[in-house]
Symmetry: C2
Subunit: 204 residues, 2 copies
């Protein structure tokens, strides 16, 4: 397998999951700022021009929650998701999809507002609101989603590297993560994991 990623993009979550799974994979680093994602050779792999993309023996996969679920299924021995219970797995999915469609989207308004509006004043308006939107997301995560110590409780799952990735975004976006004790403890636990340290070193 080959993971296309960009440093500190949301591909970090899949990258950590592959490492935790003990997968035999290659990581190919692209540079968003010099246009790597819009080159024809990359668009042939992922027509969306985004990362992550995971090239497997069966074809290319995109979208972080889908890749994370695939990794959990492909490496059942790593126990990265409750594979034997459809409802529990659906809860894992639902958490990751919230991160993808609400939290990551909120974050993107601070940097890529041009996706949805044209005027500089609109983009500035989005940027000034960013700490509030990301703060509201993490308030909800702290109070009604994160069981602790890991997202789903005692078991480490594919939710954890993705929350870790979004918690970094929140800090960059001006959210004082210390307001959220469970999230703060989660970040600390993640930083203790060898797989996380190894992958973070590849995202500098």
């Amino acid at each position: 397998m080959k993971l296309y990623y960009a440093a500190n993009s949301c591909a970090l979550a899949c990258h950590i999951a592959l490492e935790e799974a003990g997968a035999d994979y290659e990581a190919a680093k692209l540079d968003m700022r010099n246009g790597d994602l819009q080159r024809p050779e990359y668009l042939a792999i992922n027509p969306k021009g985004r990362v992550p993309a995971l090239v497997t023996a069966e074809g290319v996969l995109t979208e972080t929650p889908a890749i994370l679920a695939f990794v959990a299924n492909a490496f059942p021995g790593s126990q990265l998701a409750p594979l034997d219970n459809d409802f529990s797995f659906a809860r894992v999915h639902a958490f990751n999809i919230y991160l993808c469609s609400t939290v990551h989207v909120a974050h993107a308004h601070g940097y890529r507002g041009y996706r949805w509006a044209d005027d500089d004043t609109s983009l500035a308006d989005m940027r000034q609101k960013l700490p509030r939107t990301m703060g509201a997301c993490f308030e909800l995560i702290e109070t009604s989603m994160l069981v602790g110590p890991f997202v789903m409780g005692e078991a480490y799952t594919i939710c954890d590297p993705y929350l870790f990735t979004m918690a970094r975004y929140a800090q960059w976006d001006g959210v004082e993560i210390e307001r959220f004790p469970k999230v703060s403890e989660h970040v600390r636990l993640m930083l203790d994991r060898p797989a996380v340290r190894k992958v973070l070193a590849m995202h500098t």
Copy 2:
């Protein structure tokens, strides 16, 4: 099971899927405009204050792609997803997650821009860009995602009611769906299905 929905919200996709699966379920209609989604009794079910929410014997599920996958797994006889192939199922997920995190998000900027910006001029800017952002999404769906006649090819899956729901949004957003032959044919095929007709009548 009990599906909480609002007329013409993205809950339409889950509603159709439950119907196609032959599920024994109750549909509870909420009215977004009179604040049903923010009432304490609904927030106790779904703290996000959004629809859909599916109450199951094991607990509450949210997020359209997660609910759709759960329905496909819970009713294997209805063959709403390639349950025996992890990669193919991951592709189904990836398509639905694109609709959730990119297409539905683009649509929301025409109506709920206040989630990400404060000024009226910013919201107007988002609204004027809407036909272009939704048009670009459907261009990508037409050229690189929708196999035809259904999203994944000959087999009807949980991707189809969700694409149908987003294609309705695109039309409301000023996209001339006729520009996209495969999407137009998909809408026509969907409107022929008894489950779709039955559920649409409950979304007026």
